[in-house]
């Protein structure tokens, strides 16, 4: 077995003994000195999870979150040095924990945190020319293809995800209503903002992202969501910077 394989095995497994061949001053056994690396690895990964999942941590409380985090970091060490991407598997991990079965919405909250972070680091793009769009005759408006901005994220949830986010982050926000909510995250400049989407709007946005025109996306959405309201959807998406110009992509 290679030296680094042996060294690595104990880093995320506190039950393993200190590897052979490591020493302190005067050839003393390394003992606790190896634990410095164990602590650095484990604590730095836990700190990265804390940074990545603020909504999940708010809901669970710091103590509960910090007791789950070591289980995750030992089972799912990062696969890349780009730590801003760490935690992709965290929503699925939360789904497997029996002690969280009463918090069925928590994995979606983790997906919400991931989407917020993804939006923050997404590519820049020139803003959509809303004024030009608004001067178009209605039939031309409906024939337009609207490029979805790289920082826009869509989350579908069976839970009141938007209300849960607001309740946990905005002072005096009302208690979540028992409804399914889709959420759109947009980034007007540097700070991602969550918005509640009307029913069907997530499907409509997906169609646009695949290159459908406003009209074609509308028609396709109506087949699955008869109550889809294009006017209301345009207000929230156009008004909240969901789109960009093609040149900016």
């Amino acid at each position: 077995m290679s030296d680094q394989t042996t060294f690595r095995q104990g880093l995320l497994d506190p039950s393993r003994a200190t590897p052979d061949g490591l020493k302190g001053p005067a050839n003393a056994p390394a003992g606790k000195r190896y634990d410095v690396y164990r602590n650095n690895v484990t604590h730095s990964l836990i700190a990265a999870l804390q940074t990545a999942f603020p909504l999940v941590r708010k809901i669970l409380g710091g103590q509960s979150f910090d007791s789950l985090a070591p289980i995750y970091v030992r089972a799912h060490p990062p696969k890349s040095p780009v730590m801003m991407q760490y935690g992709i598997d965290f929503p699925a991990f939360l789904e497997t924990l029996p002690q969280l079965s009463k918090l069925g919405y928590l994995p979606d909250c983790a997906r919400f945190d991931l989407a917020l972070r993804g939006s923050y680091h997404a590519a820049d793009a020139a803003p959509f020319d809303l004024a030009a769009f608004q001067t178009l005759p209605p039939d031309e408006m409906m024939a337009q293809r609207l490029p979805v901005a790289p920082a826009t994220r869509i989350l579908r949830s069976h839970w009141p995800l938007y209300d849960i986010w607001r309740f946990n982050t905005v002072a005096d926000a009302p208690k979540p209503r028992p409804v399914a909510q889709d959420v759109m995250i947009t980034r007007p400049q540097f700070d991602p903002e969550p918005h509640l989407l009307p029913p069907g709007a997530a499907d409509w946005l997906d169609r646009l992202a695949q290159g459908d025109s406003v009209q074609a996306a509308h028609d396709a959405t109506l087949t699955t969501t008869p109550e889809f309201d294009l006017a209301a959807t345009l207000v929230v998406t156009l008004g909240k910077s969901a789109f960009c110009t093609d040149e900016g992509r």
Partner: protein, 282 residues
């Protein structure tokens, strides 16, 4: 993003700071003696947004050092080509005055362990690290600087000292050196060696940048001091003394103050940069 005239000029022989986004406005309003900034490469490997915008704005005014923490140059496995490509993209875009990495490993197989892990100083390690450094310099198209680690333990297998190892790497690869004098102090204390002797043996002629930072104090199983390189405190006086000792030989060089945890307000960090300016003036 910088004009060509500023490419590859090296960092100014003045104080720099490890850049933290919370200091963005204060640093520009009142930089004090700070002439350059250093950023961790991996924090700027997103596709855009605020991190890139801040780096673009700060580059108008401050020389830039890109300091990688995730390349795992000491790893037993081949360098991560995807990561090397990301570094190249970042360096091509940001055109830093300097690129540096660590004498350490952090990736094993498909796992990234998010820490700077130690190496035995042997001929086999030397050959491997030298080949990795050559690969980095080849891909990036520039010289890199290599930083000495903080050590908490030593390897029974080591056949040479860290200073001999670093000197051999410079000979083989033509890389430059980043001398972290806090790491020298931490390692010397932890391994019961002389920091002064380390500096006397170190190939100071190849230093292109210094680091100073704070550390925590603990003890090992026998009660011996065990210093932890935490970058969360003021730089202690003995570390400033070591820096001044090294500067007496090298002449003025870029000196970076690192403060990565429990990040203080800007005036506190600026005061550490002023202390570095004093060391540069003596």
């Amino acid at each position: 993003m910088l004009d060509d005239e500023r490419r590859f000029d090296g960092l100014p022989a003045r104080p720099g700071v490890g850049y933290k986004p919370q200091h963005f406005s204060a640093l520009q309003a009142d930089p004090g003696p700070v002439a350059w900034i250093e950023v961790h490469a991996e924090n700027y490997m997103g596709d855009g947004g605020r991190p890139h915008a801040q780096l673009r704005a700060l580059s108008e005014r401050f020389a830039l050092s890109i300091h990688g923490v995730g390349l795992s140059i000491g790893g037993e496995t081949p360098l991560d080509r995807d990561h090397l490509a990301r570094l190249k993209t970042l360096c091509d875009w940001a055109q830093p005055a300097s690129f540096s990495e660590h004498l350490a490993w952090s990736t094993h197989g498909a796992e990234y362990l998010n820490d700077l892990l130690p190496l035995p100083y042997t001929d086999a390690t030397l050959a491997r690290v030298a080949s990795h450094i050559a690969q980095v310099q080849d891909v990036l198209g520039r010289q890199m600087l290599l930083e000495n680690p903080s050590s908490y333990l030593a390897f029974a297998d080591s056949t040479m000292s860290e200073t001999e190892f670093l000197a051999a790497l410079v000979d083989r690869t033509g890389c430059g050196l980043l001398l972290d004098v806090n790491n020298v102090f931490v390692s010397a204390t932890n391994l019961d060696l002389s920091a002064q002797a380390y500096l006397d043996a170190y190939p100071l002629a190849h230093v292109q940048e210094f680091h100073v930072g704070g550390h925590d104090e603990d003890h090992d199983d026998t009660g011996a001091p065990l210093l932890i390189d935490s970058h969360g405190k003021h730089v202690i006086d003995p570390v400033w003394t070591l820096l001044e000792h090294a500067l007496a030989t090298t002449g003025p060089k870029p000196v970076l103050v690192e403060w990565d945890n429990h990040v203080p307000d800007w005036p506190t960090l600026r005061a550490q940069a002023q202390r570095a300016a004093k060391a540069l003036a003596t």
